[in-house]
Symmetry: C2
Subunit: 343 residues, 2 copies
DNA sequence: CTGAAAGCGCTAACAT
DNA sequence: ATGTTAGCGCTTTCAG
């Protein structure tokens, strides 16, 4: 067991050629012509001996490790972002690269250490990712490197960003409601997330609300009210319950996240209100449970897989490494939570 | 920008010592004594020049890359396993190792390729992980290597396994019910998952049921029935609804997963049954939404973080690399879904 | 068409 | 206490 790994020298010796020749045929290069006979012998020997290249040694010479680092704040941990990792992993694999994933846990100090760890291991490029869309300032170490920003923006830093198209998603939510006939009694739960911790709202909130209001206005409709709150299930429950207790009769709820919708469903159910007969609900994210709710929730999906895939494509494509912001569409998942308004 | 990386030779030259000396002080070794003066000069030079070691080059010599590979079927993708990755990532970081995560997507052919990719990059060890606990047969490439099995068992393969303690979790679920006073009308929804695809049940199901029945019996209680089905939300809904329609009056439900519980709650609500006043519910997993349900769900938590952490600890500890099965406790999250039986 | 030899950045015997 | 030298496994001029 665990016998010495076979090296290229072993293969060359066994095939009766020089190591140079072996190197050329094994790396499949054609600029230096090798006789088919020798070529065959080398390949045969490699197979017989179970030769596997030592990528570490190779990259010491070539300066290329075929490795992409992904450093994120807390993406791996968030329940719905697994698809982002998967998209990136599959794209990397398709291009014969290895994706090395690290996570800072939101700790700014850990960040430099992790980035250095990646760089010390000669990562060719790094994807800098955040859990939710926001502005960031990159660690020093990344300046002058091949970088792609995933789910974040760093104005002034010359690298492409990949983010979900929240504005268009806001418009799409509005259109879903308009198409069903809604023109009034529409409330936005969660809004811009303009709460004490984030008084100016958060990126996704601001963009979604912008698209939502724009498209509503274009359809000669409007929002009856906006409730600013955090975006958790408890918040949705509390706020919708409060809304109802205040004597309002909403016809449609635009919830900031599926979690908010989850809480909203509970408040609605407690009040004996039926979705979608009495109140329609449209949401954003498309977490797993959105499909399990009764009725299943209509929502605009965060395109995690595509986000991860595109980031890798960009980073591998020299031509596309300019400071463009790539907005990835958020596909609508139309299920059962939207109906015509009650008459 | 992007100027040439500074090497150890640069540091040595700048400090006016040989490269050997530089190597010794920079790698912090003490077996060869270096004058404090020289030592200081080297450290100073390294700092001035912004020296960073080239780990690739180092490992070419030392044969150790300080890298652990994690190859999983589809763990990164599953919504509740982020903590597993985080536990492993943090433990690796604490021991100054890099964790490289890859995922096969369940594709057996991709597996060899990925493992080879890891090995070609000289990973020191690999953690082989699966999404749910099951028996596996490892790819050839892993034989004779330093391996830890995460969430899976490979009888005959000489490596430790780390799995959740499902048997004890089953017992704990029983005890929760017994303590509340339940002795009858207890149904297990999901059971062993003895469905057409897995006629003999799955590992977690079998172990949980074993612990559950054992502890119930010890408490002079028993199961009124076991419903074998898949473990999704729809399944929970369908089966509990069916149970009720068949005229049964369950007092307590032991649901195989939180997803099953999710569906069970819906069926119970539709039937106008109150949790926990009329029916108690206890579950396994502790997904996010378990805490959001009304009432919040009492469940035995899958110890993802600890699973990931322990796997890394084991793999870094030569002494503990024997074929032991490490069972990690599943902590009870006692919330509001268990009450005394109605009289 | 093929081989000899140098060297990537670092560590480790072996001198001194 | 420090320096010389060889070499990890591979790629790549440069000669033949």
């Amino acid at each position: 067991m665990a016998r010495r790994r076979v090296t290229m020298a072993d293969v060359a010796r066994s095939a009766g050629v020089s190591q140079t020749t072996a190197s050329f045929v094994l790396s499949g290069r054609t600029d230096k012509r090798i006789s088919t006979a020798a070529s065959e012998r080398v390949r045969e020997a490699a197979r017989m001996l179970g030769y596997r290249p030592n990528v570490t040694a190779r990259s010491l010479r070539t300066k290329s490790t075929q490795t992409i680092g992904l450093v994120s704040d807390t993406i791996t941990t968030t329940p719905y972002a697994g698809d982002l990792i998967r998209g990136a992993l599959e794209a990397a694999r398709a291009r014969e690269h290895l994706l090395v994933i690290t996570e800072t846990g939101g700790d700014r100090a850990a960040e430099s250490g992790l980035v250095n760890g990646l760089l010390d291991r000669q990562a060719d490029a790094v994807i800098y990712a955040t859990m939710y869309t926001r502005y960031v300032t990159l660690p020093q170490e990344l300046y002058g490197r091949r970088v792609v920003l995933l789910n974040c923006l760093a104005p002034g830093f010359d690298a492409p960003s990949v983010i979900p198209d929240e504005i268009e998603a806001g418009r799409a939510a509005a259109r879903l409601l308009l198409t069903a006939g809604h023109t009034g009694g529409i409330w936005a739960i969660g809004g811009h997330q303009a709460v004490p911790a984030t008084p100016d709202g958060i990126f996704a909130g601001n963009e979604r609300m912008r698209g939502l209001q724009e498209a509503l206005r274009a359809g000669r409709a409007g929002l009856e009210g906006v409730i600013e709150c955090e975006w958790g299930a408890e918040d949705g429950y509390r706020e919708v319950r409060g809304l109802l207790e205040d004597g309002h009769t909403p016809r449609a709820l635009v919830c900031a996240t599926d979690r908010v919708s989850f809480g909203a469903y509970q408040a609605l159910a407690e009040a004996g209100l039926s979705v979608p007969d009495e109140v329609s609900v449209v949401s954003f994210d498309d977490q797993d449970f959105a499909a399990w709710l009764h009725p299943a929730l209509s929502t605009l999906a965060l395109p995690h897989y595509e986000l991860g895939r595109l980031a890798v494509e960009l980073i591998l494509d020299q031509e596309r490494l300019d400071a463009t912001v790539h907005r990835v569409p958020m596909p609508p998942r139309v299920r059962g939570s939207i109906g015509p308004p009650p008459d």
